[in-house]
Amino acid sequence: MHRFANPARFLRLSTLLLPWSAGATVVLLIVGLYLSLFGSPPDYQQGDTVRIMYIHVPAAWMSLFVYTNMAAAAAAGLVWKHPLADLFAKAAAPIGAGFTLVCLVTGSLWGAPMWGTWWVWDARLTSVLILFFLYLGYMALVNAFDDPQRGTRAGNVLLLVGIVNVPIIKFSVDWWNTLHQPSSVIKMGGPSIDSSMLIPLLVMAGAFTSYFIAVVILRLRTEIAHRKIQTLRFSVAGDGATG
């Protein structure tokens, strides 16, 4: 991990990775969307509404996946003062918030015909809403300081505090009797959904993951370039002042 603390090494690696992850996103998204919209059967109870799930479930996975990654990066940033880890958390936050919003909105759209309501205050929905607020709070906190270092460090502590919410989201459907159905893919004894639905779901999950990787690399590169420009500006200003 410490190998990548050097931004130059990261930049070289990322130029290698970026086209692959971007290409994988496009291919997987096209295949996944075709499979989920046309190539899979409608559900016997939900009819065609089930197709919302191929967006909703991967988005929900990603919202947790991104947050967990950000928290791990935050820990690395605080413990080893790893410069890229700080930047990673900052770069990933808007993407994670986007996934969470997609998850909430698609869930709501699915709930309207299926549960007969746009929103219920059950444990899963409430805890995901809190996750969304945590993302927003993190982004607001990071940008609230004049010194960007201070902002990312404060944000790191907040990310680690907010990690208590992740297991609550994951197990909320098991701990409480809620309207939201329990997990049917990741559970003991294998998935309980048919492979004709499981495959499009996994393809979509792959597409979302590679999308995340591609965008986070892009954002990290932008951030590094931004820092470089700032340093150059400061040094030019410094030269002007002394010379």
Binding site: I130, A140, A144, F145, R150, A154, V157, V161, G162
Partner: protein, 221 residues
Amino acid sequence: MNRFLRLVGRDLRLALRQGSDATIAVMFFVLCVVLFPFGVGPEPNILARIAPGVIWVAALLASLLSLERLFQTDYEDGSLELMSLTALPLEAVVLAKTLAHWLVTGLPLIAAAPLLAVLLNMDGAGFGVLVLTLAIGTPILSLIGAIGAALTLGARRGGVLLSLLILPLYIPVLIFGAGAIDAAINGLTPRPHLLLLAGILAAALPLAPWAGAAALRQAVE
């Protein structure tokens, strides 16, 4: 321990001599609750139904009020840096200041709550549980709030940011606090809610000063 108590005593003396924090929190608490009969109408049944939630939400907001200044004044006049240099660990400093904050703003809320419950026509069965939940819950609010206060130290628009960060984390406390009172009023046992609330307190008591101290170190560095 002696240093710890001295720090609590110092903060209490400061708060009592300046005098405004405690009274402002309680006045805000009372006014906030009193607004509800005007907003939803003076129908006693409706007020009795929503009383636990209203009192708890008002208590949350009231405890937020003075949080911004928990470390702010000490940070600005430099005493926070001195405190971080003393033999007392920074975690203990955070705990001491949080304790003082709770004694100044939390305790008066607990004392005022039964009066507000009468105003809202709350069922008599809930009074004991109301005081109990607030007694367990308000320390949690101060502890979680201390993390937020430490994080937003020196930030632009710190106060607004503080509420944005802290209010989502307050939600579990609100759910179990109001849930316990509702259970007691409806003739069920409030025990599970109270146990969960106490569990949150037991987790927050060691973890929150730790996180708060980590955040303070970033600020005074």
